[in-house]
C-alpha cells in the first residue's frame, strides 16, 4: 500500500483537534484510542517504523500508568501518577506532531502556513525552529561524546561534583554551534531569496480532497464522542 499524502493544513487541523481531545479527555482509555487513531493516520501516511515504536511506547506508558494507579501506594504512587498524568497529556499530541513533521517537507509546511495568511516574520522562525529541534539533539550527543573523551562525564556524578564546569562544557559548544548555524543558514537562505518581498511559490500542489475531509470528519466525531462521554450522555 502506498502512502497517502494529506494536505499540510489538514494535518494542522488534526493536530489542533488532538489538543482539544486531550484537553477534554474523559478517561485514560479515551486517550489510548486517540493514540491508536493517530497511529492509523501514521500508517496511512506511510510512517511504519515510527508508528510501530510510538504505539508500543504508548502501550507501555499506558500499562505503567494503570499499574501505578492500582498497585502502588503512598508517596511513590503520588510521584508516578503525577508524572504519568503529564506524559499522558502530552503523548498523543507529541506523537501526532511527530508524524506530521516526518511526513511534511519544510517547504510544503511553509506554503501551507502562507496559504492561511501567516506573516513572514512568523513563518520563517517557526519553520527554522521545527527544523532545528532535531539538530539540538544531535548537537547534544556529539557534545557529550566529546566530553567523555576528555574525561568530563556529563553523568549524574559529574554534574553533582562539578556543576558549573559541566554546565559550561555543555552550554558553550551548544551556543557556539547554534550561533554559527544561524549565520550560515541565513547566508544560505538570503542567497536563495528569503528576503524577496514577492509571495512565495511552491512546486508541490496543496489542495484539499476527499481524504482530507474524511480525516477531519473522523477526528471531529471522535471529539464529540469524548464530549458526550464527559457529560455522561454515553
Amino acid at each position: 500500500m502506498s502512502a497517502i499524502r494529506f494536505d499540510p493544513r489538514t494535518k494542522l487541523v488534526l493536530l489542533f483537534m488532538c489538543v482539544l481531545c486531550t484537553m477534554f479527555a474523559p478517561s485514560l482509555t479515551y486517550e489510548l484510542f486517540l493514540v491508536i487513531l493517530a497511529a492509523v493516520f501514521g500508517l496511512l501516511s506511510g510512517q511504519y517504523r515510527y508508528t510501530f515504536f510510538g504505539l508500543i511506547a504508548y502501550c507501555l506508558i499506558f500499562l505503567a500508568t494503570k499499574l501505578s494507579i492500582y498497585h502502588l501506594t503512598g508517596i511513590w504512587q503520588a510521584i508516578f501518577i503525577a508524572f504519568f498524568g503529564l506524559v499522558n497529556k502530552v503523548y498523543p499530541c507529541g506523537f501526532m506532531a511527530g508524524i506530521m513533521i516526518a511526513t511534511t517537507k519544510t517547504g510544503e509546511f511553509m506554503a501551507a502556513l502562507y496559504k492561511i495568511h501567516m506573516p513572514d516574520s512568523f513563518v520563517i522562525p517557526f519553520a527554522v525552529m521545527m527544523r532545528y529541534l532535531p539538530v539540538v539533539k544531535e548537537d547534544w550527543n556529539s557534545i557529550t561524546d566529546a566530553m567523555k573523551m576528555r574525561d568530563v562525564s556529563p553523568s549524574l556524578k559529574g554534574t553533582i561534583m562539578h556543576p558549573v564546569m559541566t554546565a559550561e562544557c555543555l552550554y558553550v559548544p551548544m551556543m557556539m554551534a547554534a550561533s554559527n548555524t544561524a549565520d550560515e543558514l541565513s547566508i544560505a537562505s538570503v542567497t536563495r531569496g528569503i528576503e524577496n518581498p514577492n509571495p512565495r511559490t511552491c512546486l508541490t500542489k496543496i489542495n484539499f480532497s476527499v481524504k482530507d475531509v474524511l480525516a477531519v470528519c473522523f477526528i471531529l466525531i471522535y471529539f464529540i464522542i469524548g464530549l458526550l462521554i464527559r457529560r455522561g450522555l454515553l
Partner: protein, 201 residues
C-alpha cells in the same frame, strides 16, 4: 563577523536567529516542564529554574538581534508549541503575552544593546512562565477539582493545597526574578570568557 546592526524591521537573518534560539529555549523549558510533574514544589520553582538556565540563549539572541520584535516572536513560537503539546491554559497565554510585551517595551526603551536593559527584559520574559502554576491560586477550587478529575492522585493534590499559601505565591514570583538575574550574570561571564573571544557576538 556579520552582525545585524541598526534599527528597522526584522530581516531574514534575524528571523532565522530567533528561530534557532527559540528551539534551544524550548528544549530547556520543556525538560523542566516535565520535571514539574514529579513534585508540586518543583512545579512552583520551575519558572525560576528555567530563568536560571535559559539566560545564555536569551542573552545571545538579544545580542545578535538588536531589533524590535525578537522577544515577542520567541514567546509566540514557544507558546504555540506548548499549545500543540496540549499543556496550554488561558492563564499562561495571558502571562506569556503580557511578559513578552513588557520585555519588548523594556528593550526598546533601553536601546537594545545595554546589558541592564536586556537583564530587565529577561526578568519580564521569565515571569511569563509563572502562568503555568498560577491557576493554583487564581482558580483554586475549580483547578483542584479539574486536576483531580484528570487523574492526579490525592497526595499530589494535598501537597499542592498545602503549598498554595500567599507566601508561596511570593516565592513563585521571586524565583524567576532571582533566576533571571543569576542567569544573566552567568551569561555575562560566559560572554567575556568564551563568546567574545570566539567572535560570535
Amino acid at each position: 563577523m556579520a552582525q545585524s546592526s541598526g534599527k528597522g524591521s526584522l530581516k531574514g537573518k534575524d528571523l532565522i536567529t530567533i528561530g534557532i534560539f527559540s528551539a534551544i529555549y524550548f528544549v530547556i523549558n520543556f525538560i523542566f516542564m516535565l520535571m514539574g510533574g514529579l513534585h508540586p514544589m518543583m512545579w512552583i520553582l520551575m519558572p525560576g529554574f528555567i530563568a536560571l538556565l535559559t539566560g545564555i540563549p536569551f542573552m545571545l539572541m538579544c545580542s545578535k538581534v538588536q531589533k524590535m520584535g525578537a522577544v515577542i516572536l520567541m514567546g509566540t513560537i514557544t507558546g504555540l508549541i506548548y499549545f500543540v503539546t496540549g499543556m496550554f491554559t488561558v492563564v499562561i497565554l495571558v502571562t506569556f503575552a503580557a511578559s513578552c510585551i513588557l520585555g519588548e517595551a523594556v528593550r526598546s526603551l533601553s536601546g537594545y544593546s545595554t546589558f541592564k536593559g536586556n537583564l530587565l527584559a529577561f526578568i519580564c520574559f521569565s515571569l511569563g512562565m509563572t502562568g503555568s502554576p498560577l491557576p493554583i491560586w487564581l482558580m483554586h477550587d475549580k483547578f483542584i477539582s479539574q486536576i483531580s478529575e484528570q487523574g492526579m492522585p490525592a497526595e499530589y493534590i494535598t501537597t499542592l493545597e498545602k503549598l498554595s499559601s500567599p507566601a508561596m505565591l511570593l516565592v513563585l514570583f521571586l524565583a524567576p526574578v532571582i533566576g533571571a538575574i543569576a542567569g544573566s550574570l552567568i551569561s555575562k561571564k560566559m560572554f567575556q570568557k568564551h563568546f567574545i573571544k570566539a567572535g560570535i557576538v
